[in-house]
């Protein structure tokens, strides 16, 4: 393996921290090594709460969506009792995929292989040739669909945990829960995922995307062409806007979660108007803002409407509350390849003009053909390819801002350090093994 010769020899951590020099280093083989990914599957993806979907995606009893989560094949199915449940998408007989459509509605699902049939509570209700089994063979749920050890939701965001010993979801979310509130509170009548998912990928390690998703430092260089687009589009609608001075900053939210909050010149359907939206757009944005203020108070309305935030929920959920509201989750497939899925989240009952601008806006920066995401993909792939320069060049540097611990700015790297510290803790069990 292409590893620096001293890999794993630092006292207690994979990472190297030199507080004196304000230096924070991460070994590059953490991005390339199959053994690291195997460990991550065991220590992180099998123990952390992982995002599966949003309750609004399955509004009616019988509705389902299929998802790949943490290396498993799952589906989310709303029971006839209206309860959302998550199942492993595998027949208890010989294992075939039971739910074969990406989404749909069914009161029962029949395995295509031998016909075992399940109801929305996962119960095994019918099987051809039942006389070949003892009467009580299927009793007590013996052959029911299996569910992850824990399933829970917070403000309609549904998560699973494969570890029966895991802490509860709210505890796990720590400071990130309040940010989910900020997002969920935007809709007077709740929030909904809009139709259309963006399924794409990156030829890069999954941790690179977590880092990138709240990396304010790269915006000016990597996204220079996006800022050109923005200037040509919204012009100088905020003359005070200086991309080097966006206020706010980054902070750790506990358990590896993090956020950066900042101000930005683009339009926000909640509720920052840009000239492109015309007079009727201005009126509608004003109405949205007024509604927020009357429901949540002036101060909270200002925070929700005027500030952008990239919210990182360890290990693989990103909510970008920027020119649109995105839910983005990603799964490692192998050390150098990840799959991303993203959705647009919107207030239920949003005015159709704002909904149209929201969807239009989403594409301006984000998504696999936006004016910025493809450049992010490129950057991540450039990193991943260049990690072949090991063992000679073996460490990544994410030190920016360590010299100002109380005042982390939006382009500092505190959010990455909080990720890596948590990553290191969880992977710690492996630290003395030959990884």
């Amino acid at each position: 393996m292409n590893k620096p010769r001293d890999a794993g020899l630092s006292d207690t951590h994979f990472i190297r921290i030199d507080p004196e020099r304000c230096e924070f280093l991460v070994p590059r083989w953490a991005f390339t090594d199959q053994a690291v990914l195997d460990k991550e599957r065991a220590e992180i993806f099998s123990r952390c709460w992982l995002y599966v979907g949003h309750a609004s995606e399955i509004p009616k009893p019988g509705d389902f969506v299929v998802r790949k989560v943490g290396g498993r094949q799952l589906f989310l199915w709303r029971g006839e009792d209206d309860q959302p449940r998550v199942y492993f998408n595998t027949c208890t007989h010989r294992g075939a995929i039971v739910c074969r459509e990406r989404q749909g509605n069914a009161k029962r699902l029949t395995c295509p292989y031998h016909g075992w049939t399940y109801d929305t509570r996962g119960g095994m209700v019918e099987q051809p040739g039942a006389s070949g089994f003892p009467d009580d063979f299927f009793a007590n749920g013996a052959k029911d669909l299996k569910s992850p050890a824990k399933v829970d939701s917070y403000r309609d965001f549904v998560f699973v945990n494969f570890d029966p010993e895991a802490v509860d979801l709210k505890t796990y979310l720590a400071g990130a829960a309040e940010y989910l509130d900020v997002v969920a509170d935007q809709g007077e009548h709740g929030m909904e995922v809009t139709p259309g998912e963006q399924a794409y990928s990156m030829r890069a390690n999954w941790k690179l995307l977590y880092e990138n998703s709240a990396d304010g430092y790269h915006a000016i260089t990597a996204h220079a062409s996006y800022f050109d687009y923005l200037r040509a589009t919204v012009g100088v609608f905020r003359e005070d806007f200086n991309p080097h001075e966006v206020g706010g900053g980054g902070k750790s939210l506990g358990n590896g979660h993090a956020v950066i909050e900042y101000q930005a010149p683009w339009g926000r359907p909640v509720a920052q108007w840009v000239p492109q939206w015309g007079e009727s757009g201005k009126e509608e944005v004003g109405r949205v803002k007024a509604e927020l203020a009357s429901r949540l108070g002036e101060q909270r309305a200002d925070r929700i409407a005027n500030w952008n935030r990239n919210i990182l929920i360890f290990p693989n959920l990103i909510i970008n509350d920027i020119m649109g509201l995105t839910i983005r989750t990603f799964q490692p497939i192998n050390p150098g390849y990840l799959e991303v899925t993203a959705w647009s989240l919107a207030p239920r009952g949003e005015h159709q003009e704002m909904r149209a601008w929201r969807q239009y806006n989403f594409n301006e920066f984000l998504g696999p053909a936006g004016f910025a995401t493809p450049d992010d993909v490129e950057m991540l792939e450039l990193c991943q390819q260049a990690y072949q320069n090991m063992p000679e060049v073996g460490w990544n540097d994410i030190s920016k801002g360590m010299n100002r611990p109380d005042n982390n700015q939006g382009d500092d790297e505190v959010q990455m350090r909080s990720f890596w510290i948590r990553w290191d803790e969880l992977m710690g069990a492996a630290r003395h093994e030959k990884v």
Binding site: R102, E197, A369
Partner: protein, 160 residues
């Protein structure tokens, strides 16, 4: 005006493809009418409404010009240096036409090669074309992808 033949329409589409294959993106943008649009709907919802669903590309005229312009810049990092792109157009069918406009369905395959990867985009492309005194112009180009996720492509950085 007389009705256009398929060969005449094909000539126009081949011209569009040649501009894209040669990265003459600004000239490509000029093929659109002032109210022209370039759309890539979600793969699982090819007939979706752009005002409701989350599209992959939802460009009005302003934005398609900006997209074309971006791709001429070195700072469009993903396409600097430019990847190799090749459009192949098949099964051209004129669905309907009158004096002023046509609607045309095509099958297209777009290949993009960069850094030893080859990505293939299989597309059903429907055009709404306007007949103008300057010749044909595109009022709408809707690219419906016949793939199940942009995997492993990762993204659409070139114009389809």
């Amino acid at each position: 005006m007389s009705m256009l033949t398929r060969a005449e329409v094909e000539d126009f589409l081949y011209h569009e493809a040649a501009l894209l294959d040669e990265w003459k993106t600004m000239e490509w943008a000029e093929l659109f009418t002032e109210d022209g649009e370039y759309l890539v709907p979600p793969m699982e919802l090819p007939n979706a409404d752009k005002n409701e669903a989350l599209f992959i590309i939802n460009d009005d005229h302003h934005r398609l010009v900006q997209r074309a312009k971006r791709l001429t810049r070195r700072t469009a990092h993903v396409e600097f240096p430019h990847s190799k792109v090749r459009h192949a157009i098949h099964n051209v069918r004129i669905l309907e036409q009158d004096e002023s406009s046509l609607s045309v369905a095509t099958n297209q395959v777009v290949y993009r090669a960069k850094r030893q990867n080859l990505d293939t985009f299989v597309c059903h492309v429907v055009y709404r074309l306007a007949r103008t005194t300057d010749g044909l112009r595109i009022r709408s180009k809707r690219v419906m992808l016949d793939i199940d996720g942009l995997r492993p492509h990762g993204m659409i950085s070139a114009i389809l």
